[in-house]
Amino acid sequence: MTKGTGVRLERLTKRFGRVVAVRELSLEVAPGELVAFLGPSGCGKTTTLLMIAGIYRPTAGHVYFGDRRVDPLHPRDRDVGMVFQSYALYPHLNLFENIAFPLRLKRVPADQVRRRVRETAELLGIGGILERRPAQVSGGQQQRAALARALVKEPQVLLLDEPLSNLDAQIRLSARAEIRRLQRELGVTAILVTHDQAEALAMADRVAVFSMGELQQYAPPDELYHRPKNTFVAGFVGSPPMNLIEGEFTGDGFRAGGLRLALPKAPTGRGWLGVRPEHLGLGPEGLPARVLVVEPLGREAIVIVELSGHRLQVLVPEDEKPAPDAEVRIAFPTGALHYFDAKGRRIGPE
């Protein structure tokens, strides 16, 4: 099938009345890449996707597919396939006709329609239920049919708007891998909108984190995780989220209320100290703290402790979890700390 084209957004802005849904967004997606737009609801990620699809006209800025400027074009002239959160299958048509719909509109000859629909349906494992209507198949099968409808016309760009969030937890994991495999095999450029950070990290080559209509960080998953650009990304990516403590950097340490940490080469001024729950240690060494709550997760447990007036989450192996109300000691790993300034921007360590 076709190799996808790159997508470039240039200072894309969308206003609804006085509300700015997306502000001055610029980013580039390489051909064949899978990029996730990640953020909480109302952050502008779906609005951006709909501008790429051509459903919304941008208030300002441009969208390019390769060298072709597409923002003045109608969706049908853009060569995109799209999967919606609700799947948006046509309820009055059976799965075959749903998948065939884009081809019928293009007046593809009937025998070709039959062949291509069959091929795509086989690829997605729904070849046996094409005579059924959407209401007569499971959610997972509807999702596959929606994906087949998006792929059957061999689009340049595949847009996925929360395609997994209506699936059961178990199917969701297999569907994740399935979509990733198909996307790699077909080489189609794909943009995935999701509010689930685990989904974004697991599936995407690069993740664009959105908040309040603005791009916060655009990076591969491990960079997002290990070097978050600001406190929003630090708090949104990772589960449980990073602990963030507001306080004062003193050049050789960090102070927040009763908490005092010696940190060589620390910056100065007010700011935030960040540390991931899995990097905090419970042990014989460290600062004294009291256990408030223990949440067992199976293999691990989240322990919420109080340390000099601050609440911190600590991730420990299941067999090392303390009892509630126990007195423990918390060790801060000097190698895995994050420093942010008072505005939340990352300032170190390098």
Partner: protein, 296 residues
């Protein structure tokens, strides 16, 4: 038996209403149609068997009146459903603050008292200098006599179209937004979206409006009565229900023939049932009905 007790209990209030107000009158009408009950025989009616039906069959104007009825119902229905659908689609395509007032305009004929509404039509269609239509066409004629069918169908249609318009508009609004997005991404033009997505999804409301309006058009005659009273000439626009009224309830002899009227009504009921069954068949009623969400 116990299994059916709860469902029966829940069904009983509605069933009682249907029995009392729909089923009983039908049976009463049928019984009445086999009698010669009238003003003169009011105290001592007698069974006359099928005599009333025989009278109907030998009516020399039977064919004409049946043809008139088919024409009136068919054309008005086409106007109502077609115009309703057109209005719903057009007002859904424009922004809401344009569509809503336009729809409100179409409701005016419906909220006007029928007598006033018909007076307006008579005024419009009268000879110059009164008639607006004569003025506009530059030909002074009584258009009610020149084109009685057009007048009857339009007068009824302008009232009736708003019903379909309201039902279809709300059905269109109930279509999830994402389906329109999907159609656009799949490559559909507005026309293709309407033809291949919207109208198929309106199958159920179209069936409902068509069936409902057929039945109400079969039995309604007030606008024709006021507009032409079945004229011009001899039974020019006389339809079955108006004929029943003329023959049985408002004849020259002042003798109200309840029995004959009941026979005519019974015929109308039979026609209505046949037409309804026909609609259910062609719209494939079973396919339109979804399983109830409640489990018993």
């Amino acid at each position: 038996m116990r299994r059916y007790l709860t469902p029966l209990l829940f069904l009983s209030p509605a069933s009682a209403l249907i029995l009392l107000f729909f089923f009983t009158p039908v049976v009463a009408t049928l019984l009445l149609s086999f009698t010669d009950l009238s003003t003169t025989t009011f105290r001592h009616p007698s069974w006359v068997g099928l005599a009333n039906y025989q009278d109907l069959l030998t009516d020399p104007f039977l064919k004409k009146i049946l043809a008139n009825t088919a024409k009136y119902v068919g054309l008005t229905l086409a106007f109502n459903v077609g115009m309703g659908l057109l209005l719903a689609l057009l007002t859904s395509l424009v922004p809401e603050n344009w569509g809503d007032p336009f729809r409100a305009l179409w409701l005016l004929p419906r909220i006007l008292p029928p007598v006033v509404y018909v007076f307006i039509w008579q005024g419009l269609l009268a000879e110059a200098p009164m008639g607006l239509v004569s003025d506009l066409l530059g030909v002074s004629k009584n258009w009610l006599v020149e084109a009685p069918w057009t007048a009857v169908i339009l007068a009824n249609g302008f009232v009736g179209a708003s019903f379909g318009m309201l039902i279809f508009t709300s059905a269109i609004r109930a279509i999830p937004r994402e389906l329109f997005y999907a159609a656009a991404v799949d490559g559909a033009t507005t026309g293709q979206t309407i033809r291949r997505v919207v109208i198929p999804m309106l199958a159920w409301p179209i069936l409902f409006v068509t069936a409902y309006q057929t039945l109400s058009l079969l039995t309604s005659f007030e606008y024709i009565l006021l507009l032409t009273d079945g004229g011009p000439g001899f039974y020019g626009t006389e339809v079955w229900s108006l004929h029943a009224y003329h023959l049985a309830l408002s004849n020259y002899f002042g003798n109200v023939e309840f029995g004959l009227g009941a026979a005519m009504a019974a015929v109308l009921v039979v026609i209505g049932v046949i037409v309804s069954l026909f609609y259910l068949k062609i719209f494939n009623f079973r396919a339109l009905v979804t399983e109830p969400k409640i489990e018993v």
